[in-house]
Amino acid sequence: MNDPRPHPRGGLGARKKERIDSLARAGARRDDAPDTEVASAGTVDDRAGVSLVASAWRRLRRNVVFLAGATIVVLFVILALVAPLVAPHDPSAGLLLSQVRQQTNPIPGPQPGFPLGGDQAGRDLLSRLLVGSRQTLYVGVFATLGGLIGGLTLGTLAGAFGGWIDSLVMRVVDVMLSIPSLLMAFSIAAIAARPSQWTVILAIAIVQVPIFARLLRGSMLAQRHSDHVLAARALGVKPAPIVFRHMLPNALGPVIVQATLVVATAIIDAAALSFLGLGNPDDRVPEWGQMLGAAQTYLAGYPHLAFYPAACIIVVALGFTLMGESLREALDPKSRR
């Protein structure tokens, strides 16, 4: 009833939008979530006034799920950084090409120096898996960043100024949300005249823009009427500092959660794009999704070719998901008990 959102309910996928909005509000509730529950239970609260971020971190430190996710993510990032140094061979050199026979034996098996064997072009599979982490990280991070920047711009515009800017931006966002997101990514990738790693990243990033935009706008709107913003306005603080110093930081919680989860979906979606032939056709620099997509042809005889990159993707996606979900729980004022 006391809903601070002036945007009328309706339009398609109204519920999808509301879900995103409520997530935004949950994160913005920072200033009115003192430790009343703890105090009313009569306990002596020696940490009164701890900010949401600090208290979230305190609980995350002991959270097994978060630690597991974070460990996977950290190991993945380290691997991506050092992979070219530890890879036994050049991942793009067809060292075993002489063993590849189109008819009899398209995939070279494991042999000394090549513990996992080669791929369809005679390249060392282990080296490709190791080095592939780097491109995979790029895809995940850049697609997320792209979506974040686009969403940040639109959402900040809409949420900070309201009025017709808000209406216009949100109409566009609503229509974008009305297309199933993965289908939209497929369609965007299909436009590309010359598909490359960047068209893959772009296609995935664009799909994330409306989600981030809605998240930010919801959080901003909730705050526009909150006391700390009203106070700043009453003190004569100019609009820009209010938005960037007072509103944006409070909106970041749910955005960080969403971004963490998006890295996982971006990596999985990139694999799906490659599977449909919409990925990067240049496979000299390996990427896990692309390796998995390419392996489908050889699945019946050589399932290991698909299994290794798939396992890598699953573990890394799981890592980001675990981290994101436990972050979400930690940042939700409702679950502070």
Binding site: A41, G42, D45
Partner: protein, 370 residues
Amino acid sequence: MSTAASPPDRRHPTAPADGPAVHDPAAAGRSDATGPLLSVRNLTVRFRRQGEEDFVAVDDVSFDVRAGQTVGLVGESGCGKSVTSLAIMGLLPKRGNTVTGRVDFEGIDLLSLSPRQLRDRRGRDIAMIFQDPLSSLNPVVPIGVQVSEVIERHVGLSRAKARPQARELLSKVGIPDPDRRLSEYPHQLSGGMRQRALIAMALACRPRLLIADEPTTALDVTIQAQILALLKELVQDSGTALVMITHDLGVVAGLCDRVNVLYGGRIVERADRHELFATPRHPYTNGLLASIPRLDAPRGQRLSPVPGSVADNIPWDHACAFAPRCDRPVAACREVTPELVTDEAAPSAPGGLPRALRCHHPVEPGQESR
């Protein structure tokens, strides 16, 4: 029913409750038939905390409620009054806490009953109304169903047969146009109407005991008065005993026959309403009374709130929990746990029940801060 029924290990010789108090020799011979309707003895509720000591929310609380009597449990938030009521109803979470002591209702210890037996009594013999009427009503079920489901459950009527009764109840609690309201949803009612509907649900099966947990806190002041008047009227008409849980001494003044003041999970003072207001003995009670704004106070006189908050509590072992906030502490307050004893020094109405007090340095009659 005597204090002998309570576990012998408790420090009970000086822990009286109304009625069969240790200083009342006649109590020993009393039978259950004439005893109190509800008799809470040494009720203790502990919450388990991770990596910390248990938190004792309700600590050795004993009090009685007689048929038709209105008893107040008064204290600020966190003093254990709500937990007490939930423990009596058996509504505390199933995990994470332990409840000890006795809660005798018509001679049967509710704490010893199986969940099923307790379920049969809840809503029929003992009912409860809660603080926030909006969140206490199911948003997607019509008011009529929420009222009649109690009757269906405990009287065994069909939905169709229970509906006229539900209608009757709604009009009895002063809801206009009850026929229409029956098929409406909580969000379509005003705050006062919602609380009236909750009261109708609670009284649907004519319970002998009603527990009201801050029933007016979430309402506008004008509505508060209406709801209190309604409660008073209904309780008097039906002879239902009422346990009124509140932080508001104004509510106590208008409604309660007998008052238990709680602090830090323990009862610190007990008296009939009139005596309590006339001569508060515990500094906490005194402070609460002094913090009520009075129209007859001289202009410019400051309100004197009780300083500090519950967070300043110290544990009851080897001290008085209220000592850090007390305006008249003595050395003993920091060293010896005060016991709840019959307060002989306090003026008591002729024929009234004895008062009880837990204080090393009580306020003397005439010294009340006003």
